[in-house]
Symmetry: D2
Subunit: 337 residues, 4 copies
Amino acid sequence: MKFFSDNTATACPEMLAAIAAANRGPARAYGDDEWTLRLDAAFSEHFGTAVRAFAVTTGTAANSLALATLSPPYGAIFAHHEAHIAVDECGAPGFFSGGAQLALLPGEHGRLDADTVGTALENHPRHLHSVQPAALSLTQATELGTVYRPAEVARLAGLAHRAGLKVHMDGARFANALTFLGCHPGDLTWRAGVDVLSFGATKNGALTAEAVVFFDPECVRDFELRRKRAGHLLSKSRYVAAQLLAYLETGVWKRNAERTNALARRIGAAAGATLLHPVEANEVFVRLGVARRQALRAAGFDFYDWGAEAAGEVRLVVSWDQPEADVQALCAALARL
Amino acid sequence: MKFFSDNTATACPEMLAAIAAANRGPARAYGDDEWTLRLDAAFSEHFGTAVRAFAVTTGTAANSLALATLSPPYGAIFAHHEAHIAVDECGAPGFFSGGAQLALLPGEHGRLDADTVGTALENHPRHLHSVQPAALSLTQATELGTVYRPAEVARLAGLAHRAGLKVHMDGARFANALTFLGCHPGDLTWRAGVDVLSFGATKNGALTAEAVVFFDPECVRDFELRRKRAGHLLSKSRYVAAQLLAYLETGVWKRNAERTNALARRIGAAAGATLLHPVEANEVFVRLGVARRQALRAAGFDFYDWGAEAAGEVRLVVSWDQPEADVQALCAALARL
Amino acid sequence: MKFFSDNTATACPEMLAAIAAANRGPARAYGDDEWTLRLDAAFSEHFGTAVRAFAVTTGTAANSLALATLSPPYGAIFAHHEAHIAVDECGAPGFFSGGAQLALLPGEHGRLDADTVGTALENHPRHLHSVQPAALSLTQATELGTVYRPAEVARLAGLAHRAGLKVHMDGARFANALTFLGCHPGDLTWRAGVDVLSFGATKNGALTAEAVVFFDPECVRDFELRRKRAGHLLSKSRYVAAQLLAYLETGVWKRNAERTNALARRIGAAAGATLLHPVEANEVFVRLGVARRQALRAAGFDFYDWGAEAAGEVRLVVSWDQPEADVQALCAALARL
Amino acid sequence: MKFFSDNTATACPEMLAAIAAANRGPARAYGDDEWTLRLDAAFSEHFGTAVRAFAVTTGTAANSLALATLSPPYGAIFAHHEAHIAVDECGAPGFFSGGAQLALLPGEHGRLDADTVGTALENHPRHLHSVQPAALSLTQATELGTVYRPAEVARLAGLAHRAGLKVHMDGARFANALTFLGCHPGDLTWRAGVDVLSFGATKNGALTAEAVVFFDPECVRDFELRRKRAGHLLSKSRYVAAQLLAYLETGVWKRNAERTNALARRIGAAAGATLLHPVEANEVFVRLGVARRQALRAAGFDFYDWGAEAAGEVRLVVSWDQPEADVQALCAALARL
């Protein structure tokens, strides 16, 4: 039973159906097809405001292309030290931006707090000898499966804006965060001050589809050129666009996120005192210790270790297509341990 | 009736079937799935030698990632002045390599010849004030729908190697070239001295699938890190890998290329004296003049102009799913004009 | 007798005197010293308008830092195909800009003409698949020792501005051009539409001192950060600034340029029919043929070959400290040949 | 009385004399002059082994060019979190390397220790999702005026080499460290495992002269091309080379460093309990508190604050040309406070 990652999942049927439906007749290449041309409207509808939305195929591309439009080569990008852009993208922000530097900050449960960010922005030098504060990147849901409340996003974005930075949100698991909070997508983004969002769908049921959503159109032309130049403008764009449209329009984003959030909560409850972070999305982090971790593996569960080897901490991720029986078995096993 | 580009086509049924077949159960992310792990063997079988093959989603990514492994930031990449990397990728080679410069050369019918390349390599300075010759990039089939013979590739690659350069082949339409020549894939690549190949499938029936094929394993680790860093390592890699496997293993590469080559030849024959370049792949270039061009459009044919506006030149591309009736109608219309 | 380059010359006494005079007491580092702080005023006085001026130590740094402020990474920089930025700086513009591409144009006697530039700008695509026209770079005096007239600069700059490009001037030999024309420095620059100038002094008597002069302050902050980041902000900036101040304020720029221009004209006259380009600065290009070239070397003259080996063309450069006897001897030798 | 920085100092007479002596007759440009051609021999003599040495004009250029030869664009460079490359060079390592990331580590008194480095290297992931450990950069003397012992350098370099990293030393104040230790230059560098050294002279009496010294010739060609491309190859190279030769050959490096070290020790002794770090070079760090700091300024002393404003910490730097009376007065003032 596999709890490795939501990346190991299949694509949900709505995605394959959308691809099959788009597979009719010729369509203009490089995004001038009817599916891609509908993205702006579909995302504007979803977010309750006029946005520009662009399809890409990976979260790394979404994050780094977005950040490269916000930061000059001599910029500093503030982020949590466990952020995906810091530890899992092989330095992609530095590549796409031409050398911008990450300014990494601590924060409990994977979340940045206003004190830490405020102090960091205040103390960061602005003279010529230093990289220049350019962007704040928030991960929603965070790498530790927790979720920023709208007021927290607004407070952090406010600090960033007042200091002259733009705000990026890495929403690889945006649907999980949104579902957990039960709020409007706009409340978590543009109403709270987010300038550009990496909107993930792949981890929540798509084959391979992510969007970059601009709430501020200023950087759009720059983005489009950078995307092309980075090989992320697809010639047959319709197949990714169709996935994104189906993701939004069939409500699969919500259905899948509700399911994985609920299953993760059950695991969290079963984990009891070993739980490391509140379960607010589809990830559960527990400290088992080395022996119990080994016992869990021996019982047929697959997952990644997390943090230092000796601590015996693990990450358990629920995928949209996770059999409920897997979760039941896992809960039982955790209760036994 | 659309003759814009082979990028406007649908995906062929084998591709959707392959994706559906791969959509079963969990699979390790980021290329550790069974489909991706079979790429090396499948491409080694195809090319008749041990190769390393990697999936990406665009030709720009394939070309630029390959070139970035061959050229230092201060390198010069020699290519035809109409090459896709020179005119259609928004400077991608410069981005991926950290600033390598293109050294663009002329050549009849889109092909570089040995005299031009030999002279250019000989005359290019090697001192510190100049970018350093690093790679030769050949497009097969060329941007003008012509094809290098194996002996031509071997001669050009020999010149490059003797001068210390590596050889890249942009094979966005490799299947068309191969089918036209009727030779073994190895004859056009490693036996002729090609070091790395951008192997295209998207233009010939895939949804979105390209491969980078290394005949020399030396650059593979560098490539893998650059690919990840550029956001071109897919988390759900299986869906692209499955396309590439089906493309090779069902023979769809050959079937589609044979069809489009044959249809293009018919158009070429109908074009008669207006034909600009030999028709050796699925593209036909004709000089109609402005009036006849307009007449052809008025008759219901869509296509791109080529070259300077006033010359009245056009490009006609046959897609794998082009209705035969389109081609018949086009031939008739060309004959009438 | 050496006619290699004006880079082989010594520094003139005014420069060493300026350095010695600046070598008194502590001074704030990184350009906050009294000499550097006077640069804006001194260059504003020279150019007859308010400018911002910055010291660097090489022409490559001046050119590339200036161009990087004018061109995005996906920009195209239009220049003569023999421009120093194209052939003598190891791809520096690509490095500093993050991958901008040079669009190289022909032009008689090293000069671009309005027809060529106008056509190139008109034909350059603006769509996403192409690098975007960003800057026009003019070399004054050109690499072939010729000089643009103010009206020519104005016409070219007008074309560039109307097409949305900024205008850079590589003035490594600006003093020679200015002296040849006898016009006001403003006539050749801001009044003619130049946005930023690489102002050379090293070739004309300085130890090592170049300036970047902004006629439009918009890019200045970007420039300052790029300069620091590239290691071109000197900690003991005063010693370069003092050279630039002395260069302008003692009139040494004019005295040296008048001398070298006059001596070059004498050589040009002696060259007679072998002269390849009008002599308008301190460089003379002659076609001797291989035999006479060898004879000239045998007679004790050192110089660089130019162009293809077999043509027997040479470049003869007069330095500010060139003994007049060298020139007399050279004229005599040329007359004899 | 100014204790801002050793960058605010003048150049010492030996430097101006060397420049004047080099200012005779024509010399080949771009480093083919007799002074530059002697650098390898002079530095080889100094270090007691065959080295390659290259002149540049700033410490930022020396550090970043060196690091760019050691780290691929996807590399991680390990350094102390207060290192000059981390906080004072506007992200230069990221620019020169094409996006390498700094991995910053803590360490008492500005020094890295073997435990911290060993653990960091051990824990750093090597998989494709992470930047790859490439180089360790040590600052000698450190930013806090302390000095690594040869055995410490050897231990750290050993850890780095065993983990596949190369070792860079930022020796902006190398002479101060060497003088403090009284050891042979080779003991602090190649015998201890340093691969490339940024050898500073500017802070210790030169006008503007730094060297990059390679103990391993492997990266030299790459370095030379990167230097040219970055605008750091001087056309009139002789004037910087002459400074470096005089710096080594007249013993001015030792005389100046001995003087500033001794004066700094006197200040350190006067500082007594307020001293923050051992005084092992020409810098003294003291915690005065806000009130006493203000009093010291009021008494006519200029210096930079260090660290957080409220802590009242200051840095006092002794320059080679610091009047002894300044130091006497400062010691008296510190004793009074």
